[in-house]
């Protein structure tokens, strides 16, 4: 049942992901991107990471997409007519198909499969302690330094945005 459900969501995710690239109208692309984000949120739920799913919907499908759609409407982008870069598309398709064949071949050989290591957390712990609390804990203990570096990264991004985009600095 779970595999079947996964297959459906994965199919929707891939199709909507392709639509993001293929749509000629940027608004349609943005809307397809929202569908992709929702599919990812579904994956998080299936992986028993409800906090991640909520954040995915709130931050990405909510806040960031509103921003993207807002910018597209402000810039008043025209629908791209006519196709450019036809050579690149042909070459890209050939390389993509070759890579796909390679991937299928690589993973179908009788190797040890895709088993990864299992960490200390399992379904039982997540249900007992709570997903949000577990994330919070590791963020302030194991990943304290990365968490702090993120603040520097945001600072650089803000300064950079002002330097590049403000009219008069």
């Amino acid at each position: 049942m779970e595999t079947f459900f996964f297959a459906i969501v994965a199919l929707v995710a891939i199709v909507s992901g392709m639509l993001v690239v293929k749509c000629r109208n940027p608004i349609n692309s943005a809307l397809s991107l929202i569908v992709t984000f929702f599919c990812l949120a579904t994956f998080y739920v299936m992986l028993e990471a409800p906090f991640m799913a909520a954040i995915q919907v709130i931050v990405y499908a909510g806040a960031i997409m509103v921003l993207i759609v807002f910018v597209i409407m402000l810039l008043n982008l025209r629908t791209e007519t006519g196709s450019r870069y036809t050579h690149a598309v042909t070459v890209g398709t050939i390389i993509g198909v070759l890579t796909l064949i390679e991937i299928v071949y690589f993973f179908s050989g009788g190797r040890s499969g895709l088993t990864g290591a299992t960490g200390g957390l399992n379904t039982e712990t997540i249900e007992r302690v709570g997903h949000t609390e577990l994330i919070g804990r590791s963020m302030f203990t194991d990943f304290l330094l990365p968490f702090e570096i993120t603040s520097l990264l945001l600072l650089v991004a803000i300064v950079g945005a002002v330097v590049l985009a403000k009219k008069k600095i």
Partner: protein
Amino acid sequence: METLAMPAINFAAIMPETILSAVAMALLLVNVFVRSEQKAYLGYLSLIGILVTFFPIVAGWNAPVELQSGFNGAVLQDNFSLFFKGIFLVSAALSILISDQYMQREGCNHGELYPLILLATAGMMLMASGTDLMVIFLGLELLSVALYVLAGFNRDKLKSNEAGLKYFLLGAFSTGFLLYGMALTFGATGTTKIAGIAAYVAANPMITGNQMFLVGMLLMGVGFSFKIAAAPFHMWTPDVYEGAPTPMTAFMSVGPKAAGFAAFLRVFMIALPAYKPEWSALLWVLAVLTMTVGNITALFQQDIKRMLAYSSIAHAGYVLVGFVAGNAVGTAGIMFYMLSYAFMNIGAFAIILLVGRKGEPNNNVADYAGFGFKHPLLGLAMSIFLFSLAGIPPAAGFIGKFYIFSGAIQAGYIWLAIIGVLNSAASVYYYLRVMVFMYMKDPVEEFDWLKVTPAHALCLLVAVAGVLIPGIVPGYLLELAQKAVFF
């Protein structure tokens, strides 16, 4: 509810990064009160910050192991990372010294330049000392985001905008590869700590057949290769180097490359030594391709900035030779080479910057006709840098190449060393071509617009000293580099 068990923090392990970030944030505040024609003072303040940062680096040298590690093993400030941090500081300081004059000339002397350089340097340091894939990734992002802005810093020039946008798009693309590789590696081993990955691989030899782990390793390799501009992932380099403001080209041709190599070395040498035959075979091909593509393309360049961009690709290839060798001699050679590369490359860019003037970059090789007669001292300095880049003794570039190639020979990669030496010989052509124009053609221009500010003169003096002194008496610096090798 139980309390949080805080990890052992040990601020000493991230002291250099802390100082640089603090200075950068303070400068952002000071910047508001400084008038636009006096932004050079911010440069002097940031230089003081860099000088102060040298203290924890010198003090941390040969520190006991328990003092090196911090944040639950997220960073390790060993001699290896300290040596690289020294390289980053040198390249940042030299680039800051030549920045103000250029930025004023081009009318983009915004004070945000210096904080961005300092934060980029902090990012490089985190890459060099990070022993957690998360820290390496975030350090790389901190560095890259700052560099995207610095590449497009000359907002009114189309070329600079193009450089910033190209660097941003391709950089974000390559970061995707790196992050995907890290995620797959995490999935296969259950940890992001490099030491943890190494322990897992040692405990589970069966993992060699795990596709997830193999693909993760490959993708990480691709991500790092993008950052060090190894062929065939080098396409962004010439356009970005050409379009970016010249002092920033100097900065980004040295520091980020060294940081990329530091993280690349640490991840592959410590986490994945079990795969050394596999990845060194891949890197062998990458090294040969990078050297050859870089050098052959550089032969046909008329624009000197593009020529140096392709030459920097070739230099990444030489450094990859030391990486393939994977022994102590080769790794010490890499560190020595990156340090001397900082001096010679930034020095060369400092001269290129002087020859140009507002709206007239004079980047063509032919623009250098007779430059050596009009300005004998500057011509001499440029010749020293070019000799060093070509690897001709007694410059430091020769010693570095010598140790890298002898490391490759010791490890049994005779053919790789031969290809490297042949490439090095071919590169002499395009370096000497500039000198032919400088000394053997009649001057077309008077070069009377050329003005060497004290800061600029200091940068050139330090660069010449940094090329000549280790080139003539390499013993001390080599010893330091050998002590910094982490295995």
